[in-house]
């Protein structure tokens, strides 16, 4: 067996060993995206602390580039910055959306 064959075998074993980790990560990613999709479809998120209904669609200002637009508070269409959390308008507790 050549040296190249051993290298390919090693890589294959490495992939085989890592595949469960990638699978878990992919599952988590898919779950998060599903949650995000559901929240974006609803247009609001209930605060888990005070149950205040917070709208996701506001006059939002990007905290990275400062771009302001009427749209989702979780995404900036100018720099594509995404935000996973925001503060509840009533109790100021942070809400994780996705």
């Amino acid at each position: 067996m050549t040296r190249a064959w051993f290298r390919q075998l090693g890589v294959a074993i490495l992939y085989a060993l890592a595949s469960p980790v990638f699978a878990v990560l992919a599952w988590k990613r898919a779950r998060n995206l599903t949650r995000l999709h559901a929240a974006l479809r609803a247009g609001w998120v209930d605060c888990p602390t005070c149950h205040h209904r917070n709208s996701l669609n506001v006059l939002a200002r990007c905290r990275r580039c400062g771009f302001s637009e009427y749209g989702s508070r979780l995404w900036c269409s100018a720099c594509h910055q995404t935000t996973q959390t925001f503060d509840c308008a009533r109790c100021r507790a942070s809400i994780r959306v996705w």
Partner: protein, 543 residues
């Protein structure tokens, strides 16, 4: 973090809908049919302002007058505003109203309630408001017919310390018996120690405290010559202790030479010498109570203005010490007053006063809780209330304030942020409303403020216009100050020379001749070393 391909795709998918939804929410807030119910607070306050005796404070933005019922306006309050935002003029208008009403005249278009009487005291640790009130009163005085001028002058009492005149102040006079002698002495010594730049050891402090008790019992003023003779001449001390009703004070000073080291006594005398080195303070607190009663007879003053600014005559610590003594006196006497008439205590630059005279914080916090029963309102004006004071104290004072007036201010704007959602003037989401209200308060123009009376929503108003005193009567500001100093100040102050004469007469009567001139004095003086001892033996051997 920047979004990945999937997230960008998802947000892109919902982008149009999100934008439309955000716009729809904002339009709904703009839509009069779907807008929240109109703010009824202003209408409520206008209705309350119709009650007789309501105090004019300003106008709403639509021009309607803002008046607060006396029962609210005279309670404890906090006024915050940056320098030049209009809080001094706000209080000037209030003082002008009270002065005119006490004279039975209309103020800002509002007639005086029949038989009106109120007491008001201004403590100003920066002199600016004090001077403004002086000019205001002088302008009023000039504009009055001669018969009313005397009445106006009689309403005022001035607390001031200048190179020419001082307000006498009996530091250790407890003739009214409002507190125990020990408590009075304790308070005086506490203030002196806290505001002094010198260190006070426990033993010096204890000596000062007991000496203060002795002065209180004898109704004596602090006097350096007396103190020197008292501590250095045992025979003189024993004569002075004769008839002192307190046995522990008498015992303390009878055995002074055995129980208190000489260094402690000398250290105390050095501190007393420093305290009385300033002629304004020596003449103010050094006059005996009998002389004060003779030179400045007690009278029924309704407006007291106190200048506690250091100026160029006193160090800051000494000026604040004056303010602290006055405040402690007020807090001692106010619980004994007749509650049928209101008393308004205005503390200008309260944050500066309380942050530098920390010993006042607790009594003042207690006063704001308890003095309401005696119809006393403590109104605090400050620039940086939220940052200059400890949070717990700010919270206590806020809890006990009946109303808050916020002129242009920074951190304090957050106090009203929780009400943003209830106020119809701001649009958008809850967070946007809060932010808009805070920014509005942080950028209010001069004389504009938010008034928050507890139990109702905050309302924006404009304080009453108080024209410049000089322009009002066509005189220069210096002339107005001269009129005040000539016509009104002498009624509650004493000329420095008169004070010095009174002190000299007291010293001559109580201290008497120097110890060296009497035959028995040598035995009373304790030798300080071997040389003193040998010298005294030589003197005794001499024919």
């Amino acid at each position: 973090m920047a979004g990945s391909f999937f997230e960008d795709a998802l947000f892109g998918l919902h982008r149009r809908r999100s934008s439309a939804e955000a716009l729809r929410l904002v339009q709904r807030a703009h839509d009069p049919e779907e807008a929240p119910a109109p703010d009824t607070t202003q209408a409520d306050l206008v209705r309350l302002g119709m009650t007789p005796g309501a105090v004019p404070l300003g106008t709403f933005l639509d021009g309607q007058p803002l008046r607060l019922p006396a029962a609210i306006a005279n309670q404890s309050a906090i006024t915050v505003g940056a320098s030049g935002s209009g809080k001094t003029r706000f209080y000037l208008a209030r003082i002008e109203t009270e002065l005119n009403w006490n004279l039975g005249r209309a103020a800002f278009g509002v007639a005086a309630p029949p038989g009106y009487r109120s007491d008001i005291e201004l403590l100003d640790p920066k002199t600016e408001t004090f001077d403004e009130v002086k000019k205001l009163v002088a302008a009023l005085w000039v504009g009055l017919p001669p018969a009313d001028r005397d009445r106006l002058a009689g309403l005022l009492r001035v607390l001031d310390w200048t190179a020419e005149r001082v307000t006498p102040f009996a530091l250790f006079d407890n003739a009214d018996g409002l507190t125990s002698d020990a408590f009075l002495s304790h308070q005086r010594v506490d203030i002196e120690v806290a505001s002094s730049s010198q260190t006070y050891t426990d033993s010096v402090r204890a000596l000062y405290f007991t000496f203060g008790r002795f002065l209180t019992l004898k109704r004596f003023p602090p006097n350096l010559a007396f103190a020197r003779r008292f501590f250095r001449d045992r025979a003189f001390r024993l004569r002075q202790l004769d008839g002192v009703p307190s046995r522990d004070v008498a015992a303390y000073f009878t055995t002074l030479d055995e129980t208190v080291p000489r260094q402690t006594i000398e250290a105390f005398l050095r501190r007393l010498e420093h305290a009385l080195a300033f002629p304004e303070i020596r003449c103010s607190i050094g006059m005996p109570p009998e002389a004060i009663d003779r030179l400045v007879p007690p009278r029924d003053a309704r407006l007291t203005i106190g200048n506690f600014g250091p100026g160029n005559r006193l160090p800051l610590g000494k000026a604040l010490e004056r303010a602290s003594h006055r405040l402690i006196d007020l807090l001692r006497t106010l619980p004994r007053r007749d509650p049928s008439t209101p008393f308004l205590l205005i503390l200008e630059e309260a944050a500066v006063l309380l942050s530098q005279a920390g010993e006042l914080a607790e009594p003042l916090a207690n006063a704001s809780r308890t003095l309401r029963a005696f119809n006393v309102g403590v109104q605090l004006a400050a620039q940086d209330f939220a940052n200059a004071l400890p949070k717990a104290l700010v919270r206590t004072l806020l809890l006990n304030a009946r109303w808050v007036a916020l002129f242009q201010s920074r951190e304090e704007a957050e106090w009203l942020a929780p009400f943003a959602e209830e106020m119809p003037a701001h649009l958008g989401t809850a967070t946007q409303r809060r932010t808009a209200l805070v920014k509005e308060i942080q950028n209010l123009p001069q004389r504009h403020a938010y008034l928050h009376v507890k139990g109702s929503r905050p309302v924006r108003f404009q304080s009453l216009p108080v024209p410049n005193a000089a322009a009002r009567c066509g005189m220069a500001e210096a002339e107005l100050l001269a009129v005040f100093d000539r016509e009104i100040t002498p009624r509650s102050t004493v000329a420095i020379q008169d004070a010095e004469d009174a002190i000299a007469a007291w010293e001559a009567g109580v201290i008497g001749p120097e110890p060296g001139s009497t035959s028995g004095s040598k035995t009373a003086t304790r030798p300080r070393g071997i040389s003193d001892l040998l010298a005294s033996y030589e003197d005794e051997d001499a024919p």
